[in-house]
């Protein structure tokens, strides 16, 4: 498994033993016995996991955890502790760590804990941070949404239009936006939800910067669009919400985009790519940054 890990322990032997267990498994390990040094390292590098001791001279483990949470909240923390008293465990868990291991530990315990932690961190990281809407930006969007609602308020049957415009504006339709629209149009939220959930075009989840649609309709299926899908999935590491960890790409499969004569079809954002050679799937992504 891949992962970038920092080990902080004033005992050199612990650092070395962690290194010898984790490096052969594919992890990239940095170790330090100086916790002040560790803070610098964390600031300058991208670690998935920080493994730390609690009892250390200078900055102790508790302090280190607080600092990590402040400067890099996405880093996962695993604590190694010699005195696992109930109180101690409660304290450290409250600090917001992923897991702890008590000394002495067996190599497989360490490995399992770290693998689980890395997996978890990846998952958390993959959820794109909520669009850091600056205050004026959010205000502008609310205003724009209000304008859309006012424009269509009097037009019967315009719910789809409003939702489309709202999705264009915000990128997706989370429950808060649905409530806002329902209020504005004076219709029940359940009606808005029933429409949003019915149509595949609407999404309640954020999409990637570039949205990929792979046609799996029968003309495209006959031309191996399945292989395109496999290649994308294998190489882009989509999470359960079909977004890549860096938020750059998201995907969905669609059935027939009406360009069957030129199957298989892949649409990225607003571009149609036809007769895609499954072997060259990744090449078309190169133009999307």
């Amino acid at each position: 498994m891949e992962g970038n890990i920092l080990i902080v322990d004033d005992d050199d032997i612990v650092v070395k033993s962690c290194d010898s267990v984790l490096t052969p498994e594919g992890f990239t390990i940095t170790g330090t016995t100086d916790s002040t040094d560790a803070i610098e390292l964390i600031r300058d590098n991208d670690y998935d996991i920080v493994i730390t001791d609690l009892n250390m001279p200078g900055v102790d483990g508790f302090e280190l955890i607080k600092q990590v949470n402040a400067i890099k909240p996405s880093v996962g923390i695993v604590v190694i502790t010699g005195f696992a008293s109930q109180q101690n465990i409660k304290d450290i868990l409250q600090l917001g760590i992923i897991d702890y291991i008590s000394k002495p530990f067996a190599p497989h315990t360490l490995l399992e804990t770290i693998m689980k932690a890395t997996y978890l961190v990846r998952k958390i990281k993959a959820i794109p941070a909520p669009e850091a809407d600056t205050e004026p930006d959010a205000k502008k969007k609310t205003e724009a949404l209000n304008n859309i609602i006012n424009e269509f308020k009097a037009v019967p049957g315009s719910l789809l239009r409003v939702l489309e415009s709202a999705q264009d504006l915000i990128g997706y339709l989370p429950p808060s936006v649905q409530r806002f629209i329902a209020n504005g149009l004076r219709i029940p939220v359940s009606e808005v939800y029933s429409v949003v959930s019915f149509y595949p075009y609407f999404t309640m989840k954020a999409r990637g910067k570039h949205h990929i649609r792979v046609c799996v309709g029968n003309a495209c299926h006959a031309k191996k669009s399945g292989q395109i899908m496999t290649r994308l999935k294998r190489n882009l590491n989509f999470n359960d919400d079909n977004i890549t960890a860096d938020g750059k790409f998201s995907y969905e499969t669609v059935r027939c985009l009406g360009a069957c004569g030129f199957a298989p079809i892949v649409e990225i954002d607003y571009d149609t790519h036809g007769a895609v050679d499954p072997d060259k799937t990744l090449d078309i992504l190169k133009d999307y940054h």
Binding site: S158, D168, P200
Partner: protein, 634 residues
């Protein structure tokens, strides 16, 4: 996704009179208009776009300028030629030389040979598939010469945004005739007599539908063009033909408002094209108030859904236009009686509308001059799969599938043998190779157990597994079921599960009968066309390829090697020459063997990707039955 806004490119155009239209036609008749010797029509359809048509146009302009030809030769972008297999495509007017399958870098050579040396650049013209002879003239290429293009007559030859080009090709003369010199009753009569049937798949007589709507007493009526993905080609190529047909329909039934319903709101290319066309038609006075001083008003708006196949069904489409979930409603009442907001509404397919101006202009007898008695006129099909030339074609109804596959499509690809023809799109089905002489009419296609549907043809070769195809069809059926009625929602799920059992070796022979009778029931009892057609593939596959289902169940053998649990790839030692081609292709490194000695597949490593099977130059790889799991469950 970057948010893009759609806006039409508006050019100020004044209202036209009949005389203006005549003078436009005169002006365009002279190919040397605006001092041009020739025009190069570069295909800008999706396929050609993807293969660099923008770059080609750029290079062409540069090159023409360099050779000081830019005053004499103009460059236009057109819609899809339908010859997408050979993309990029461009035509040189007036001699109609067609260049294909070239690279933007080849443009200088083409310009040089064609214009400086004065002869077609032979390397880039189409070569006959049989005798490899060059056929420079578009009209002589069998793919084109064997078609009968009416609706697609302008495809690839005009700039779709250019309303004058449309008028030059006799566009809008049907409209002028209908509004200025025909009574609504006469229009309906003409359409009825022409025998035009809905091109959206159902084949309902269009004239009859219009008559029902015309006879309704309501003040307000609507015209809707159902422009789902299958209509993409017509909108891309010839948006004005749809607009013209809709205005005529409005005149016939007494409607003043039309909508073009596009299912995907994010297809900006299509939306822009439609908006541009509508704006120009309005500018010229083909839409708006008092059209050609007839006192008749008609306007068109673009309306869009939000994806989902079921919204192609007319009643679901109407619900979606009303801002609701796209649930179908039982018919009757038909939309022609009670449709959008409860008003009489004509919902027709884009291809249906595009046929209307031609019928009004040329008369019903002309329309009936091709096709059969019950299925007159032409039909557009998309041709795909294991045939040499994929693309978009239009043929007289009644043309046999043999003509389409063997002549227009140029026969099957190398090393392929025809197994079946899949007709009708996602809810369609198959006819076997032996039925290749079936004529393409509504009656014959229905009699064979399949549907005309979206007019999508997929030529399937012997590498296709019918069970697997049926599984894909049912995955679609249950995935797209709107869930309103039980037979479709549950029945299609159960069928899917049963098929999955068969492809994974868990089924018994009784299951096959159960599957078949369930498919019948779902077809018989579903509320709308989706549930009524989604079992088509299951039914036709069992009807024509029952032994294949039985082999899957009894022998655990998928002869096409598509069902993983039911196939094993083995190398036939007698014919294997040890060339090593397969070993090089195998992504798993599962094949080993000494050079020039028979190779061996390590079954534990094989992922059944079929690469070796497709690669082996000596056909030494056999697909055998799957290994029975009982062996290790002992």
């Amino acid at each position: 996704m970057p948010a893009l806004k759609v806006r039409a490119t508006v050019r100020s155009i004044n209202k036209l009179t009949i005389e203006d239209m005549t003078s436009i036609r005169e002006k365009y008749k002279d190919p040397k208009r605006i001092g041009a010797k020739a025009s190069i029509l570069v295909c800008g359809g999706s396929a050609c776009k993807a293969r660099g048509s923008a770059k080609i146009q750029e290079t062409l302009s540069d090159e023409l300028q360099k050779k000081a030809l830019d005053k004499d030769v103009s460059v236009y972008e057109t819609g899809c030629n339908g010859f997408c297999n050979q993309s990029p495509v461009m035509n040189v007017y007036p001699d109609m030389t067609l260049y294909q399958a070239f690279k933007p870098d080849d443009v200088p050579t083409i310009v040089d040979e064609h214009f400086t040396k004065g002869q077609p650049a032979d390397r880039f013209v189409y070569k006959d598939l049989k005798d490899k002879k060059s056929i420079p003239n578009r009209q002589e290429i069998p793919f084109f010469s064997l078609q009968s293009r009416r609706v697609l007559s302008k495809s690839g030859l005009i700039q779709p945004d250019d309303i004058e080009a449309y008028i030059f090709h006799n566009g809008y003369s049907g409209l002028v005739k209908a509004v200025t010199s025909m009574k609504p009753k006469e229009i309906v009569r003409e359409i009825k007599d022409s025998g035009l049937r809905g091109r959206g798949g159902g084949g309902f007589p269009t004239g009859l539908k219009w008559e029902i709507c015309m006879l309704m007493a309501d003040e307000t009526k609507y015209i809707i063009c159902n422009a789902g993905p299958i209509s993409r080609s017509i909108i891309e190529n010839d948006p004005h033909s749809i607009i013209e047909g809709m205005v005529i329909a409005g005149r016939a039934v007494g409607a003043a408002k039309g909508f073009i319903y596009v299912r995907e709101p994010d297809n900006l290319f299509i939306l822009r094209r439609l908006h541009t066309a509508i704006d120009r038609a309005r500018g010229c006075g083909f839409l708006g108030e008092n059209i050609f001083d007839s006192g008749f008003n008609f306007t068109i708006d673009v309306s869009f859904g939000a994806g989902t196949f079921i919204c192609g069904e007319e009643t679901a489409l109407i619900r979606s236009m009303e801002g609701k979930r796209g649930y179908p409603t039982p018919k009757p009442p038909y939309p022609a009686q009670s449709g959008l907001w409860g008003k009489p509404t004509i919902v027709d397919n884009a291809e249906t509308f595009a046929n209307v101006p031609l019928i009004i202009e040329n008369g019903q007898a002309w329309f009936r001059s091709v096709g059969t008695q019950a299925s007159p006129g032409t039909k557009i099909f998309t041709l795909g799969g294991a045939v040499n030339l994929n693309g978009l074609i239009e043929v007289p109804m009644g043309t046999t599938f043999r003509t389409i596959v063997e002549e227009i499509g140029g026969g099957l690809k190398k090393k392929s043998t025809l197994k079946a023809i899949h007709i009708g799109g996602p809810t369609g089905g198959v006819i076997p190779a032996s039925a290749i002489d079936t004529p393409t009419t509504y009656e014959d296609i229905t009699a064979a157990g399949v549907i005309v549907g979206s007019g999508n043809l997929i030529i399937m070769d012997t590498n296709t597994c019918m069970v697997n195809e049926a599984l894909t069809a049912m995955e679609f059926g249950h995935g797209e079921s709107c869930g309103k009625c039980v037979p479709c929602r549950i029945g299609s799920r159960v069928m899917y599960d049963k098929l999955l059992d068969i492809t994974e070796g868990r089924a018994a022979l009784e299951d096959l009968d159960m599957l078949q009778s369930l498919a019948f029931e779902v077809r018989r009892t579903s509320l709308c066309g989706l549930g009524q057609t989604s079992p088509t593939m299951v039914l036709t596959a069992i009807k024509y390829f029952r032994e294949e289902f039985e082999a899957h169940i009894k022998d655990r053998w998928c002869q096409a090697g598509k069902c993983r649990s039911l196939s094993t790839f083995v190398i036939e030692p007698k014919t294997c020459t040890g060339c090593g081609s397969c070993a090089r292709k195998c992504p798993q490194g599962a094949i080993s063997g000494e050079k020039k000695k028979p190779h061996l597949i390590e079954q534990a490593m094989c992922i059944q990707c079929r690469s070796c099977f497709e690669t082996c130059p000596f056909s030494s790889i056999r697909i055998e039955a799957g290994v029975t799991e009982e062996v290790d469950s002992w």
